[in-house]
């Protein structure tokens, strides 16, 4: 008898095959609303609310450094009130979404990959299947949706705190009057500055959670395999953020 393994050519293995296959299955799982809806809120709290402190920490120091850097560059060349413009634009359009995304790629991406990887190697994912649950609908969809919805919220906090800390630094370190900082902040402000940053943040959330799910659910080999999956998820998440950052700059600017 001819064995199927001999008659069917093996699919080319590789990262993009893996991404494509799992993305397709995730799309199907998205339709299974009754399975993922009860888990979504928990995941939004775990992935989003739990990430606010780290985003605030990053934003405080980013705002301070930006204000000082702008002052250093502008002194004797450009009016100092433009420190507000630079801090506002840079924090809202680039640094808040990208730095928050990178930090959350570490926190959220590794968390998802390690959790799902552990479930995979301890047969909990198989157990879910035997209970008639689609593991993607129960595990992956709520995490990807939660990250997509909550990254912009966390980023919005980072924007607010980043600009605020830049303003405080300008006022107390550079001795730039508050109204001068605000003048610079408002002079070149557009609503696009905010939504551009938030759209990017949402896409970063999708990418980071997707990488975590892909690497977690495909991990094997016990504890070492789970560790490798978590590391790979973080690296891929960061890489995806940089690629998406460039993509949105080309498309939206």
């Amino acid at each position: 008898m001819l064995r199927a393994a001999e008659t069917r050519p093996p699919l080319p293995a590789g990262f993009f095959d893996e991404v494509g296959r799992i993305t397709l299955r995730v799309s199907r799982a998205v339709g299974d609303v009754r399975t993922w809806r009860p888990v979504l809120l928990d995941q939004m709290v775990v992935l989003g609310v739990g990430s606010v402190p780290i985003a605030i920490f990053l934003a405080v120091f980013t705002g301070i450094v930006l204000a000082l850097l702008a002052s250093y560059i502008f002194t004797n060349t450009v009016p100092l009130y433009l420190v507000g413009s630079l801090v506002g634009k840079t924090v809202m359009m680039e640094l808040a979404p990208v730095l928050t995304g990178m930090a959350l790629a570490g926190r959220v991406g590794a968390n998802i990959a390690a959790e799902l990887g552990t479930m995979k190697v301890t047969e909990q994912v198989d157990a879910l299947e035997t209970l008639s649950y689609d593991p993607l609908a129960y595990l992956a969809v709520p995490r990807v949706l939660a990250a997509t919805l909550m990254f912009p919220v966390v980023t919005a906090f980072a924007m607010l705190i980043g600009v605020f800390s830049g303003w405080i630094a300008s006022t107390f370190i550079l001795e730039l009057p508050a109204q001068e900082f605000v003048r610079g902040l408002r002079q070149f402000y557009q609503f696009k500055d905010i939504w551009y940053g938030l759209v990017k943040a949402a896409s970063f959330g999708t990418a980071v959670a997707l990488m975590g799910c892909i690497k977690g659910l495909s991990s094997d080999g016990g504890a070492a395999g789970v560790g490798a999956a978590a590391t790979r998820a973080v690296v891929l998440g960061c890489e995806a953020i940089l690629v998406l950052d460039a993509f949105w700059a080309v498309v939206l600017l």
Partner: protein, 246 residues
């Protein structure tokens, strides 16, 4: 009835099943024994649709499992429960939540779920553990919760993967008794093990898987009388028998 017909399954270059056939009759416990890494657990995963065979048929009530779509597989899994080797309980859920998860999927009301959880835990003598997490349970208790989770679904078939491995003799005996009880309650069992005491105590029929094929099958007494050197070597634990492990 579960039937495997000429099933082949490989993982890379390793051929695990090579034309394996087996019938699992209803209302009985069938034990599948064999060497570690010989394809016993793979057989269970093929039946539950967790793996697909390279070729051959895996029939449950006449339906070929690899041919089923997602909906068909979900329907089939309402009839089949799986007891995993290390219980595979969900760490983040309490014992009660672990058992209720499958019941919820079946659309059972919350009150009925609570009753069923209590009944299942009573069956495995673990009343009062509803609020505990898997990390707070011993290995034997975890396995019993795994059995309770399976039994709660009132399945027609229960697949046991190494149910007594790693347990002390007394706890193993408790698990053995549970498997006999679930059979007496009407569930058909397929028990994968290399524990001979469990095999002869729980198995109405015992099959031996060797080098990816069915080597012997019969009642416990028939297997004890079998003169095949592989079978006698396995039962007597002769090291030379292991040379032919797939």
């Amino acid at each position: 009835m579960i039937q495997l017909r000429d099933v082949y399954k490989s993982f890379g270059p390793k051929e695990v099943l090579r034309g394996f056939s087996l019938d699992v009759p209803e209302g009985k416990n069938t034990v599948l024994m064999g060497f570690s890494g010989g394809g016993k657990s793979v057989t269970l995963k093929l039946i539950a649709g967790l793996l697909a065979p390279d070729s051959g048929d895996v029939l449950v009530d006449g339906k070929n499992v690899p041919d089923l779509d997602a909906d068909g597989l979900a329907m089939l899994r309402r009839e089949i429960a799986f007891v995993f080797q290390f219980a595979a309980l969900f760490d983040s859920m309490t014992v009660e939540e672990n058992i209720r998860l499958g019941l919820k999927k079946q659309g059972m009301s919350a009150d009925d779920q609570r009753v069923r959880v209590r009944e299942s835990l009573a069956l495995v003598n673990l009343e009062g553990t509803e609020g505990r997490y898997p990390a707070e349970l011993s290995g034997g208790m975890r396995k019993r919760v795994g059995i309770a989770r399976a039994v709660a679904l009132k399945p027609r078939y229960i697949l046991y993967d190494e149910p007594t491995t790693g347990l002390d003799p007394v706890t193993s005996a408790v698990i053995d008794d549970l498997m006999i009880r679930t059979r007496d309650l009407g569930a058909t069992g397929l028990i994968v093990t290399h524990d001979l005491r469990t095999s002869f105590k729980c198995g109405d029929r015992i099959a031996m898987l060797y080098e990816g094929r069915l080597r012997a099958i019969g009642t416990g007494d028939e297997l004890r009388r079998n003169t095949d050197p592989v079978v006698t070597g396995f039962i007597e634990g002769r090291p030379t028998t292991a040379a032919g492990v797939a």
